[in-house]
Amino acid sequence: MTWAEPKVTLELALAHGLTADEYDRIIQRLGREPTFTELGLFSALWSEHCAYKHSRIFLRRLPTGGARVLQGPGENAGIVDLGDGLALVLKIESHNHPSFIEPFQGAATGVGGILRDIFTMGARPIALLDSLRFGDPAESKTRYLISGVVSGISWYGNCIGIPTVGGEVAFAPEYNGNPLVNVMCVGLVPTDRIIRARAEGVGNPVFYVGAKTGRDGIHGATMASATFEEGAEERRPTVQVGDPFTEKLLLEACLEAMATGAVLGVQDMGAAGLACASSEMPARAGTGMEIELSGVPQRETGMTPYEIMLSESQERMLLVVARGREALVREVFAKWELDAVEVGRVTGDGLLQVRMDGQLVAEVPVKTLTEEAPVYRKPTERPRWLDALVAFDPLTLAEPASCEQALLALLAAPTLASKEWVWRQYDHQVGINTLVLPGSDAAVLRIKGTRKAIALTTDGNGRYVLLDPYAGAAMAVAEAARNLACSGAAPLAVTDCLNFGSPERPAILWQFAEAVEGIAEACRALEIPVVSGNVSFYTETEGRAILPTPVIGMVGLLEEAERRSTQWFKGVGDRVALLGPDAVSLGGSEYLWTLHGRVAGRLAPLDLTGERAIQSACRTAIEAGLCASAHDCSEGGLAVALAEACIAGPAPLGAEVALPPGARTDLTLFGEGPSRIVVSVPRHAQRHFEGLMRECQVAWSWIGTVGGDRLAIRVGGRSVVELPVAQLSHAWRNGLARLVA
């Protein structure tokens, strides 16, 4: 025996991130002091990251059921039925802290992790999306982070050959010390081939497959639940390194092995590695598991049981195999030149037993590690500073001297500017399914062998959520669904990534609770189930939290792939219509931030019934072939939406627009509000379109005509914008590239 375990004390438990209460609880449950390896297991499984201790109570509020839901939260990923014997698997996950420490590898391993969550379910990943937040773009650290993160995602996604088809990038100083890297993946699986992370069948062998285990990221899961303090950069925790090539082999080998029917259950070994997989799999199935660690393929010498159980080495999986079919599994993995080693078996006693060279080093009931993990309901409190913030009325500020300059400034603002600098580094076409590439409201991918397509988007606005967590979060759901509607898709399901500061602070937990409630309300109203998600708490540095940022990943379905739309104008003479209510606000707007440097004010009201009607009207018009384009008004308001419709396409086109007078011109042009969509309608379809809108009983009006080489906007008869599309395009295309160069 080359290892010896230290004696476990309260101090040691505290150093592992457990509280004194939690430590007492462990002793009480075990009826004795835990061994060192057991302490490691508890510290990982009872961490915020694995146990959702502070969020679980709130997450119960989310609607998770629906006719199409085949798998809700609780597995590696959620699943919805697509029909035609196919199902869509989806999940989003954050890799915020690792990406701050090592942007390239942090982001890359984020991609690797989310891919594994998808193919553990038996699905072939078909698309990735990345939702990113960075700090002040003027800071050199921000530039370093964005280039590192984007090249990390690019490297992993491109190398493994899964297209990255969408995402978002936004900037705010609140993310300076805490960039957000949320990655979403969707995969396709025949409905009868779904595999779950369950250890079924007492006596079945347990296989370790994939890369070898090293000392990477031990304590990574606990790190993800600890805020950054001064000196965190110096502490230099071990980072994990991604190996997309090995993951590609693992992906192919797993899918091939699964197709034989010999694989009964799979879980990936990511955060908290083997510890997590070997306890969660039996817990879900009501079984137990015994593991012998000496056989685990190791990259380094002298690893202790504790290290092997907690290692976060990437590109590894734990498989439960049908007894008698071990040879088949070994053969497949040998073909792909990967390790596949039998390391244990499923037992019936509900215990996780870990041995090293035959010697027992841990023996814990799996339910104690999982279901019986502590759950907290910590106090929440609406922060007092919020009142002053929302009391601010943006209309007390002077109107801009030139609305044209304001529009150009907004188009060049890094949060609004074209993200082509990012997505041209991602292969977004491999698999030849991508019908709508990045650059429109949602990406659209066909489902080969059917007439169908799916639409994908991620959305979230931290400023809105800061000012009104409930409405801001609901608006993120509404906007995601609206982006799908603009491409012609009906929403199917949500996967959400909730990025917040420390839940131990009442104000933050209040934001969280409100936001979850807002998401739940919007999902109920729009009838979209939440089938998977992720919580990233403690996203703060020295007490300064990020903007509360729930990110909504949403998938939608187009019954006819042919009937899809994109956001840019296409035909000279097409008429432009605005669907939706008039109500907008400069509160929390990009305008207020870019021109006045403030985040304050009230949000425009969100009427979910109206939202649903508008989306349905838009979708119906697209399905009927009446729209040449559809683009939702989001950050930057109507003027930015119109400009984008002019310049985002392959062949820029101008437009003439006339708007009724409002309270103020800047409000009319740049005010932001939900439920608004700009569509363009070919002349021959006008009548039909008008009839349809009447039928749908939604607010709408004609506002202009496509054509020419300038965007001209009149408000109340007065010309307020008249700019060449080339100039708009220049501002928009170079806004981000200029900053990161």
Binding site: D243, P244, F245, K248, V430, I432
Partner: protein
């Protein structure tokens, strides 16, 4: 015509080529594992895009020394045709089957975008469905696609008309702006002296049906298949 699509560990355009050949062109096609040196049943071998062996040393370096690649010169000498796209082009250069090398993109970043290609040589089995001077639209997706060779090699390539495609503008001008990766003289694709092995960085398989927005890639497949070309239906574009 029977196609073989080579699969290395890390290849990813294999399925896309397979789909285009079997579903769109309705031609016989099979995957060929990289260990297989027996190519006798095939007429045309495709080396698709991807990151063979992760491209960890240099793009295509490790795959360039595999059994299937070592069998290619013989295969071509016996009349077989070889098409290497993206990683396939890199592998052919690394194996010395095509001259030159593909280096990191000049911008030092990966590029996935649409490009235009000027047909320089329309007399190859891969391009005889095109006109010389014709501009084709085809996407690229690579991090190491900057073609490089020494002066002597470049001279030879020109003398023997081995440069098949150059990056150009939509209107056919070979300019620096149209060059997405810094390739020497905008070279996007070359052919061996015998005219049997073509390497190109762009992805014809991603430009082979209306749903993808471009169909110019089909010209390469149809050139290979010959029949339609002879019928003249593709010469009028």
């Amino acid at each position: 015509m029977k196609f073989g699509v080579v699969v290395f560990p890390g290849t990813w355009s294999d399925c896309d080529f397979h789909y285009v050949i079997s579903e769109l062109l309705r031609q016989p096609v099979e995957y060929v594992w990289h260990r297989s040196p027996d190519l006798s049943e095939f007429d045309c071998m495709i080396l698709p895009g991807g990151f063979s062996y992760g491209d960890y040393l240099r793009a295509g370096a490790i795959a360039g020394r595999s059994p299937v690649v070592e069998a290619l010169p013989d295969f071509a000498a016996r009349g077989g045709l070889v098409l290497g796209s993206c990683n396939g082009f890199q592998i052919l250069c690394e194996a010395g089957i095509l001259p030159g090398a593909l280096m990191k993109n000049e911008c030092l970043q990966y590029r996935c975008q649409s490009t235009h290609l000027l047909v320089e040589n329309a007399e190859t089995p891969f391009t005889r469905g095109t006109r010389p001077g014709q501009v084709l639209k085809m996407p690229i997706s690579h991090g190491e696609g900057k073609y490089y060779c020494d002066r002597q090699t470049l001279r030879t390539l020109k003398e023997r008309n081995q440069i098949v495609f150059r990056y150009c503008t939509e209107s056919g001008d070979v300019t620096g702006e149209a060059n997405p990766n810094g390739s020497l003289e905008n070279i996007a694709g070359i052919i061996n002296d015998e005219g049997t092995v073509l390497g190109l960085m762009p992805h014809p398989e991603r430009a082979a049906e209306g749903a993808m927005g471009v169909t110019d890639g089909l010209l390469i497949f149809h050139s290979l298949l010959g029949g339609l070309v002879e019928a003249g239906s593709f010469l009028k574009r």
